[in-house]
Structures are given as C-alpha cells and as structure tokens.
Amino acid sequence: MFLKELSEARGVSSREQEVRDLIREYVKPNVDEVFTDSLGNLYAVKGKDKQGPKVMLAAHMDEVGLMITNIEKNGLLRFAPVGGIDPRVLVSKPVAIGEDKVIGIIGAKAIHLQKPEERTQVLGFDDLYLDIGASDDEEAKRLVKIGDVATFTTQFQELGDLFLGKAFDDRAGCAALVELTKGEFDCPVYFVFTVQEEVGLRGAAPASYKVAPDVALVLEGTTASDVGETDEANYSTAVLGGPAVTVMDRSVISHPQVVARLFEIADKNAILLQVKRTITGSTDAGKIALSRGGVPTAVVAVPCRYIHSPVTVMSVKDWEQIVRLVELFVCDIAHKGVEF
C-alpha cells in the first residue's frame, strides 16, 4: 500500500508536482498510457479501445496549505491559506516551505504576555506569522520567496488500529485509485488524478470534458466526526463504518441508480457501506456530473477524522473496502452497461 508515501508527499493546490511524479511512477507499469493536461491533471488509461462503457475514476492530488504572501522587515513571513483551513489548527505547528522544504513554525504570543480576554480570541490569518529563524528580510529572502507554498510536516504513523497522517483528503482516494490500476477490466477505464479540488473543484471540469465518460465515480477522503461531543446526528460518517456514499452534497446529487448499484454490490459481497449523513461540502463530482451532456456520477469516500488539519486519522479497513467496492463496480458496469 502506497498511502504512506502519498500522505507525506507535498502537493498544495496548483503545486501538485511531487504527488504527480510519485503516482506516475507507480501506475506506469499497470496501465497503457499516462499523460497530463494544461492544468496538471494526470490521466492513466487502461483498455482504451475495449468495448463497453467508458468509466472515469477520479481522486484529487492536491491538499490544503499555505502560501507566502509577504516577507516582513524583521524576517517573519506573512501567509494566506490555499483551500479551506481553519486558522485555529495552525498555531504552534511546523511547516515545510518551498522546494527546499525550509522549516518554519507558526508562532503566537506567549501565554504570559496575554491578557485573560485575549486567550479566548481566535487568532486569524492576519494575526499569524511564519518564523524561519531569519534575523531580517534579506536573510529570509535567501531562503524563501513570495509565492512559495508550505505544507504540514506530519509523518505517517500508526495510531492504535488506525493510521495518522496529513492529507488523507484525498491521498486516501489517490492510493485507492493507484491500487485499482492493477485490476483487469472489460471496459475502458480512465484513472484521473485531478488538481486544484480544494480551491474550487478546478481540475475536474476540464478532465471530465476531455475524457467524456459514460459513468464516473469520485473517490474521496471525507469528514468523519464520530468523536467526543458531536451528536450522533452530526457524525457525517464514522471511521470503521465502511466506505461512505454521498447521496447529496452542496455540489452534486449522486445519480440514484449508480448509488443503488453500489449498495447492491456491497450487499452481495458483504462490504460495509454507509451513507454520508450531511450534505455540506463539495467534490469533483459536482463538475463531472455536469460535464458536456451530463454524466451519471457518484461519490464514495474513506471516512477521515480531522480533515484539513495536520493530523488526519483513518482506517485501513475502510480503505480496503473502498478498493474492493470500486473494483466490483467497474466490473459490474462492464457487464451490465450504463442503461440506468
């Protein structure tokens, strides 16, 4: 399993090169053709000339991160979020900046210097700085430049029965897609690793326009909030509850017959499947479903706790089930077609 490398690789939206290069190397032996497009989406194609419906499987390579917007006189760096980051998760975290992976930390005023009322106030992006240890702007400019991006430095590790790492949203989906390239299918399958999902589902629209699939599945790492004080009603999904199918979110209503087919397959093969219980959030499926004349599309996801933070947590069992589910789904499509 290729999750560790993928989780640790760095790929802030629009700077996905490291992730792309890793995936390209892994999938090359398994597929007929690998190429990229003008946005940086990576396509791996298998059975291009086979009969049967054209299936598109998509997962996004990018992760949320930070971009350096200014270098101040005192050598501290200003930054802005790339994608949806809650500034509260940033305080006191190390990050790696730019191609040289310069280490910086996100500092905050020591508790001793704060007035009591300050302690309950959220530190927003305008209050936070990155400290790379430079004593002035000239020194800082030798190490980093404006426009560089930064990622969390979390190492992949085991956490009890679960995995801990950064960017499982959506490297869990990427890893599943890589695994699936090993399968044998009786129809053309386009494995698409998209860019810029976190900044507005940017890569998926051109990718689905290019592929023009008959049916599509998006593989995601999605919110699990089966924790602490959350009401069960707001769990969204639960880790170890099996892959989660999205019926509806802000961007898409998954095609009802595709969803029905997924449940049928799960039932028959004793795969645990859960429905994602909130309709918040958006995925690449929103763009793929509306591509050209419309594409029957659904989302299946690995439940991940604490997404968009430096420490995401998921279960390998959910991940294995999603790989199996999607493999069976593609085989089913190849044999039964897409007459929904």
Partner: protein, 348 residues
Amino acid sequence: MDLAELLIALSESSGVSGYENMPADLIAKTWLGYADEVKKDALGNVIALKKGKGHGKLLLAAHMDEIGLMVKKIDDKGFIRFATVGGFDYRTLVAQEVTVHGKEKLRGVVGAKPPHLQAANEQKKAYLEEEFYIDVGFSSDKVREMVKIGDLITINRSVQKLNGQRYAGKSFDDRACVVMLTACLQRLTQLNHNLDVYLVATVQEEVGTRGAAVAAFGIDPDLAIAVDVCHGEFPGVRADRGFGLGKGVVISMGPDTHPKILTKLKEIADEAKISYQLEASTSAGGTDAWSIQVAREGIACSLLSLPLRYMHTSVETLDLQDIKEGGRLLSEFALKADRQFVEGLPCF
C-alpha cells in the same frame, strides 16, 4: 486616437454588465485599425484576431463592462429605487450625480438627508441599501412616462488628469486593461510575432466572469492571459495587498497561473527591461482567468494586473505608464513564446 485619448473615451462611455454596446463599438472600431479581423460573439464579447506565425493561439482578455445601477421601482412620489449590477459600495453613492438611461437620458442625483434633520448619532452610521433613491426632479407620472423598470443608471464622472501620467475616473476597472490590450495590438503590427493573438474585450465580468467563459470556449486557445486591475498601494492597505503605481504591472502567482507562463513572463520582462511586481494570490476567482482556465479541456492561463487605487468608485486612479509597459510585455510575449513553449504547456 492615442492611448490616453482612448482611456478617456472608454472611461466616459457607459457599459454596465450586459449592456456593453457603447464601449464595444468603440473598441471594435479601434481594433479594426490594427487587427486582421474583428467580430462580436453571441453575448457581445469583442474578439480581434492578429495573426502571427501560427505557433499557437494566445487569448488576451480584459473586460469592458462596468458596475452600475438598475431601476427596480418607481414610487408614488416619483423617486427611483434601484438595484445594483455588480459589487457596489453603497457609501460611495451618497450625493452622486447620475444619468438615468430612460427614453431619453435624464439627469439625476442620489439623495442624501441633510445634517439638520438627522438624529444625534446618525452620521456615524452608513446609509442602509434600502434608504437609497434617485431624484430626477419630475413627478411620478412624468417619471413613469420616461423611465421603465430595468433601465440603467450610471454615475457621471469625467476623467480627471492628475499630476504626471496619473489619471482618475470611473470604469478604469477594467477598460484601462482594454487600453493595455490595444497598446499590445499596436505594437504587434510592427512585430513578426510567433503566436496568433486573440484579443477579447469581455462582457459581464462584474456579475460573475461570464463573458470570458463563453469566449474561451468559442476561441479554444492554447494559452491565455487575463488582464485585470488589482489594488494600488494606499495607507492602511498591507504591502502584499496593495501595489505601487508606476512600478509596472503585477504578475500573479496563484492557482490560476500556469507555472511555465509565469516563468516565461518574468524572463521576457527581465530581457526587455520591463519592470513588474509579483503577487502571491491564493484567493483566486473574481477575474476572467478563473473562467478561462477551466473552459473545455483546460487552458494554460495566467493573470496580469494593473495597480489601481479606489477600485469600484468613480475616482479610480492609475498610472498610464503601467498601461504602456504592460502592453509592451504582452506583445513581447506574443513575439517570443514559440511552438516549443506552447507544446510544453500540457507536460507536467
């Protein structure tokens, strides 16, 4: 017409989003003097083609629409209530002179309550949207005869020439960048440039970068540079959010920027001694680049910005030198970017 004259003429023409005919005709006429062909598409985008050596199709886009107001109700006393088209700061509307584009052009003012009639603390609060109305000085019957629901209202403001190359006026966002495209086009007529250049004055940017989306689909270019305005430096604006006037155009680094175009632009600017500034922009969206990048199978895209103070007011302020130098950068790019460069764009 030289560039300064064109800037003034475009600024003073009325072209609220969806109703860009007046600037469109002026632009089409101007470009016809330099381009191989000029046409309008279904939504009114003006598209000029300046053929080069055929190494690739470059789309240059700047929007020609402006924010404006629209009549939504005429009340019993003849006061006009209005909706906005595009993002307006209502506070800039107080006591402005406007033109209501009814059956004929009517002069109007945005009313303001005199200080004498205000309660003690009232001046500390901004007016609410619901409190705004326009007075055209006619009775309700006469207004209804002259004005229909849906008629447009624009702010009256002639361009003010300030010191040096600085100008102030309305709708420099983004017609100043149409002038930059024109500067590029003029220069292209003297160059044997590699790329075929499609210059587009887009419609309906202010209501959601709509014109650029359909223009990009229709033209299907290999690469594109959108040109729009960014905020000029100003007291109270952070250094990474406001850029110097007269210090050159701003090259944007963000998700809507193709890394190879970014590098090439910097390289070409350095070679041709064109000064530029850099902006790390993560909050992409809000410019034509956003729509163009995801058209069809995806288009390698970049964004150039012109520093502009007091954006979306009637006294937007800029430096003409930035426009000229920006035009030079665009033309140098069309001259020097070649087939090999274009073919390398999809290779990541």
